[in-house]
Symmetry: C2
Subunit: 355 residues, 2 copies
Amino acid sequence: MKKHNFNAGPSILPREVIEDTAKAILDFNGSGLSLMEISHRAKDFQPVVDEAEALFKELLNIPEGYSVLFLGGGASLEFCMVPYNFLEKKAAYLNTGTWAKKAMKEAKGLGEVVEVASSADANFSFIPKDYTVPADADYFHITTNNTIFGTELKEDLNSPVPMVADMSSDIFSRPIDVSKYICIYGGAQKNLAPAGVTFVIVKNDALGKMSRYIPTMLNYQTHVESGSMFNTPPVVPIYSALLTLRWIKAQGGVKAMESRAIEKADLLYAEIDRNKLFVGTAAKEDRSRMNICFVMAPEYKELEADFLKFATEKGMIGIKGHRSVGGFRASCYNALPKESVQALIDCMQEFEKLH
Amino acid sequence: MKKHNFNAGPSILPREVIEDTAKAILDFNGSGLSLMEISHRAKDFQPVVDEAEALFKELLNIPEGYSVLFLGGGASLEFCMVPYNFLEKKAAYLNTGTWAKKAMKEAKGLGEVVEVASSADANFSFIPKDYTVPADADYFHITTNNTIFGTELKEDLNSPVPMVADMSSDIFSRPIDVSKYICIYGGAQKNLAPAGVTFVIVKNDALGKMSRYIPTMLNYQTHVESGSMFNTPPVVPIYSALLTLRWIKAQGGVKAMESRAIEKADLLYAEIDRNKLFVGTAAKEDRSRMNICFVMAPEYKELEADFLKFATEKGMIGIKGHRSVGGFRASCYNALPKESVQALIDCMQEFEKLH
C-alpha cells in the first residue's frame, strides 16, 4: 500500500534525494568508497559544500555579505548561539509557541529579553500583530512557522531592529527578503535533509561585536572563517541537502515551492472547512501551509481515535496532532505530493459518509 | 581496483554497515518509508536508540550509574561542554597534541586550567609520563589517541581526581575501565559511524554540581533526562552506529578488536622499522594502533611525493600525513581489514626494491 508521509519532522524528502543518497552511500562518485567513509577534506567533498552554499544563495536570493553555514547540533543549539553572538544588552522575542519559548529561554540566560507579544493565552492559535519592538533591542527574534500549533508568518515583517528568524520548518517554501535579517537558522529535517545538519544564514558584518567570551564552537565567526569545516561536518546530511537543493531548483525554485504549498494548503483547508466532522485550530489568517492542524468538531469528539485508525489503515503516516493541540496535524512540506493531500481528503470524505 | 581506505576520519566502516544503512535509507524496517524521513519519535526508532545504548554498555562493560548519549555537534562541541559541566574552579589537562590543545582552550574560557605536562617541544611525538595531577583539580582531561601525531594511551591511567577522556579515535579498540572516568566522549566518525553523531558516556552523579549558568543544550543533564531525545537527534548516523555496534559484538567484542588492532599495528610498524626507506615518527612505547605515522628516512626524503603517488596508484587511500607531521599516516581503525595493511606493506616493499 502506498504510504503518505505527513510526518512533522524528520519528514518526507523527494524520492530521488533518498535514492541518490543511498547510491552515494554504496559508492560516492564512482570513487569505490562510501559517502559514509570519505574524508570531509577530500577533493570530492569540498564541491558538495560549495555547491550547497551556492544553491542556498541562488535559491533564496541572498545578498552579498552573508555566509551560509552547515553545522551540527540542531536548531536547539542555535537557540543559545543566537544570543551568544548577537545579544549584548537586550533582545526582543515574539512568542508564538513552543519553539519560540525555547529560543527565548536560552536568550534569558545571557541578557535581557523583551517578549513583545504572546498568544500563549489562546494556546498559540494565532500570531500576535499589535506590538512594538523596542528600538534599542539588539535584534528581534521570530519563529516563522510553528510546527506544533500550525501558524505561520507567511511574509517578512518590518522591524526597527535587525531580525533573527528560526525558519526550521518553512525554509524554501517561499521567497524571503534576507536583507531584513542578520541571521536565519533552522534544523534541516523538514524541507531540506535528514536530521543531523543545521543551516545558518548569517550577515558577516553583524558578527564580532560582543563583549562576552564565546566558546569557539558557538561563535559563528569560527564557522564563517572555516567555511563550515572547523570540525568534521555531518557529511551524509549535507550531501542529501545538496540533492534537495538541486531538486528545488529543478522544480522551479522557491516561487514554485510557494505555489505548490499554497495549492496543497488551500485544498486541505477547504476540506477542513467544508467537512462537518472537522475544524481547524489556527486563526484563518495565520494558518500554516506547512503544518495543517485540525481537530474533530465538538459534536464528533468521540470519533478522534476512529479517524486516526481509519486514516492510518489507508496509508496516512504521522497525522496524529502534537499533544499540546490534540487532534490531527498534516505536515505538507515541499516534497509532499499533491496526491498525498488528495488521499487524505478522500479519507476525510469517506469517513464523513460513514458518520 | 580494490581500494584500501586508510582515511583518518571520517573513515572506513564495515561493508555490511554501509550496505545495511543504504537499505534502510531505501526502506526502513519494511515500513515503506526511508530512514531519512521517519520521525525520531516513531515507535520503530526508539528501539534503535535503546539497543545502541545497551550495546555501548555491554561492549564497554559500563558500570551502573552512567548514561550513554548520542548528540550532534562533534567532539569539538564537547571541548566546551566538558568545562561547562565539570569545571568549577580548576581542571588539569595533559597536552598531547592538537585536539588536547583545542580542548584546553575551551576550558580556559571558563576557569583555571593546569597543563600538567606537554610534549609540544618534541612535536608531540611522545606522551609525557612524569607529572603530577593537582589533587584539588575538578577533573583530569586526557586525549587517549592523537590522530595527527600517532601516539596513544593504550591503558587507563591512574589519577587522584576523576578523569575525562576524548576517545574519538580509539573508542572500541580496547577494553576500558569506565569507572575511572566521569565522562568519555568522542566524534563517532572513526570506529563507530559516519560523521554527524557524538557519543558521550557520563557519570550521572557527577552532574548538577556547577554554580554557573549552563545553556540547555550544553548541559549533559538535559540529554540524560531526555534519553538523547531533547531535540531531534541525528537519526541516520545513530542507526549506522547501532549497526557497527552489532558488528563489533559479532566479531567478539572489544577484546577481539584489540587483538586485531595489535596484530595490524605490529605488522605495519615491523615493516616501518625494517624498511630502509621509512622511519616512524612516534616514540615506540607510545605508538598508536589507530594512526600509524611514518616519514621517509632522511636520506630518501626526496622520494616522499613518489611514494605517495606509487601507493595511491595501487589503491591506497588517505595515507598522506597531516601537515603538522608530514610524510604518511595509515589509519588502521577497527573496520580496516588486515589485507589492507598487507597491501600497504607490499607497496612499501615494492617501492624499496625500486630504490
